[in-house]
Amino acid sequence: MKKHGENISFAVIVIILALVPLLLQFGAISGGSTVIFIGKCMAYAIVAIGIDLIWGYTGILSLGHGLYFALGAYGMAMYLKLVSTNGQITDFMHIGGLKELPFIWTLFDNLPMTLLFMILIPAVVAFIIGYFIFKNRVKGVYFSIISQALTWAFYSVFIALSPYTNGNVGITEIKSLFGSVKGDANRANMFMLFYVSLIVLILVYVVAKFLVSRKFGKILVAIRDGENRTYFSGYKVSMYKTFVYVLSAIIAAIAGAIFVNFNGSITPSEMTIEASIMMVIWVAVGGRGTIIGAVIGAFVINLCEYNLSSGNLVEIWQYIIGSVFCLTILFFKGGLVGLVREQIPALIAKFKSNNTKNKITKKPTVTKLNTKKGGLNHG
């Protein structure tokens, strides 16, 4: 049961998601915009899986995944923009003084090339960064801060090169791969996009699950829990890390490409540090180290935000979300998944047995939380 629990939960989520368009069709959901938002959440769930692979499993915290998300999104957006201008230069290039399509844009003038470069560019960036960083054994928070600086640097570059990227405004007024998805008239397009995205989500889940359930996944966990021991056991730690980093960058890029289809625009604000940290928070709240946790976290936080960050709740919402992050990290390291798996069973057990037993049942969770305490004595 425990072994398949995750897959069963994911199957349930997939079924619910698959039903969403039908619910709209039968009027149970008011407005296609809700479905579009759930579509965006699927993109968020995909990037969360990528982050979970690198953070939850391998223990590398990247605070710069917004960069790869945005690179993928920009790639897709450039193609879609060229579709809408028939391959001609855009307004912002004209205003920026460009006479013809810049080289980087010509890479994205057809779909196969777009799909290739949309993944290749983030992958190459991630490889260059990852290769050197991990080879030089930069780890822990050092890596986090460097990744943060990296996304900030790219953010500045995207703003500064406004004739090519349209600066802060980004690429707007684009339709999806399947045409417009907004409004009742375009529902068929939207469903198409929705189900394609769902399939991508399933594929990414399967790939991630496949990787972590093999020896490869065990090595990742080994790296997380004892990097040097893994190193001394003869594994090329830096190669594994680079591979996971590149993989998660690719996943983030795919997520970005899906996101831009639903969103109809992309701006550099996806590259801000705050956006990147939010992605990590989804994983933390959902439950790190379990692929399903990442998916759940992305959906739960975004759906709550969608429904709660409005009207009179705005002010309170900030307090709520802030304390949820804080409390999750402090007390529920396993996130929602951990809550269901460990804390709640522990509680139930506590209720069932009398006070003599509850200390024993409670203990595993406590010690588990403290396993890393050993690292306290760092230099």
Binding site: W55, G59, L61, L63, F132, I133, N136, R137, V138, G140, V141, Y142, S144, I145, I146, Q148, A149, L150, W152, A153, F154, S156, V157, I159, A160, E227, N228, I273, E274, I277, V280, I281, A284, E315, Q318, Y319, I321, G322, S323, V324, F325, C326, I329, L330, K333, K372, K373, G374, G375, L376, N377, H378, G379
Partner: protein
């Protein structure tokens, strides 16, 4: 022109350094990544504003400018208390969990920002520079403003005081002992919990002082800390964790590089260039410029 650039570089360095000093010791000693550090700058800036308000109500006209002198210790104390509280409630549960501390304090930072909005309103508030900081010393056609000179002076003071605390006082000895080997320090009878709390509070207090300075240079609003936090982190990482010398040199590199790059290109590009330089440099020396050597493998 060159001297002017040098002076501007120095003043930017001092601001960045002031913003990162507190972070440098908390990160260095406790291995806690405080994402809410920027909000301590904010607390300092708002404290300056409150002191200014109080002075304008209670103090006669001619002493009005002295509010700024009063606000420096006040900002320190307020940020110190906030820091101490934060350490007790949150940070103390996160020792040894560097990455977790980063995420938890991000939550704290959201809460503190909203708190500022709830108390002071969404709009920024106006902190008026005291009269005695207006103007500057003019040599030839160059003007060195008193304000910048004052900031340079305060950062030097902060460093001297911190240097004294860290390397000359008994408490500093305890601090460094805990930093280098916590278990051994505890065995020697050092109350490491108390040392942690005080260190974090002092670090926060210095951020409060930095907040005082930046309130004279720019907007005081709930997002003020966000503009400085990444630079602060970069300085700490670049300089090497847990030592003053590293932070000073790290801040110099970032400050001067920014100003020099900005002379030749636009501000946005200059920022990107500096960040890329730092990233490249850290590839070469991942632990930063100066490393506190321990026998720890990690």
């Amino acid at each position: 022109m060159f001297i002017n650039t040098l002076f501007n570089g120095m003043s930017l360095t001092s601001i960045i350094l002031l913003a990162s000093l507190g972070l440098s010791i908390t990160f260095g000693l406790m291995r806690v990544i405080n994402m809410a550090h920027g909000e301590f700058l904010m607390i300092g800036a708002y404290t300056t504003y409150v002191v200014q308000m109080v002075f304008s109500k209670l103090v006669p006209e001619q002493f009005q400018s002295w509010y700024y002198i009063a606000s420096i210790p006040t900002a320190f104390v307020v940020a110190f208390l906030f820091g101490s509280l934060l350490e007790k409630v949150v940070i103390s549960r996160l020792y040894g969990r560097e990455i977790d501390s980063l995420l938890a304090t991000f939550g704290i930072s959201l809460i503190l920002q909203q708190l500022a909005r709830s108390i002071f309103g969404t709009q920024g508030v106006n902190v008026k520079a005291p009269d005695f900081l207006f103007g500057g010393i003019t040599i030839g056609n160059l003007t060195f403003s008193y304000n910048r000179l004052f900031i340079i002076f305060s950062v030097v003071m902060c460093i001297v005081i911190m240097w004294y605390i860290m390397y000359r006082s008994g408490f500093g000895k305890q601090m460094r002992a805990v930093m280098q080997n916590r278990n051994m320090a505890q065995c020697m009878g050092i109350n490491s919990r108390r040392v942690d709390n005080l260190t974090f509070a002092i670090g926060s207090g210095i951020a409060g002082i930095a907040g005082c300075s930046i309130s004279l240079l720019g907007s005081v609003d709930s997002t003020v800390g966000q503009s400085y936090i990444v630079y602060a982190f970069m300085v700490v990482v670049l300089g090497g964790v847990g030592n003053l010398k590293g932070s000073v040199i790290g801040a110099c590199i970032i400050g001067f590089a920014s100003i020099f790059a900005e002379n030749y290109t636009s501000a946005t590009i200059a920022k990107a260039i500096v960040l890329f330089i730092v990233i490249l440099f850290l590839q070469k020396r991942p632990q930063g410029l100066f490393v506190v050597r321990t026998r720890e493998l990690d």
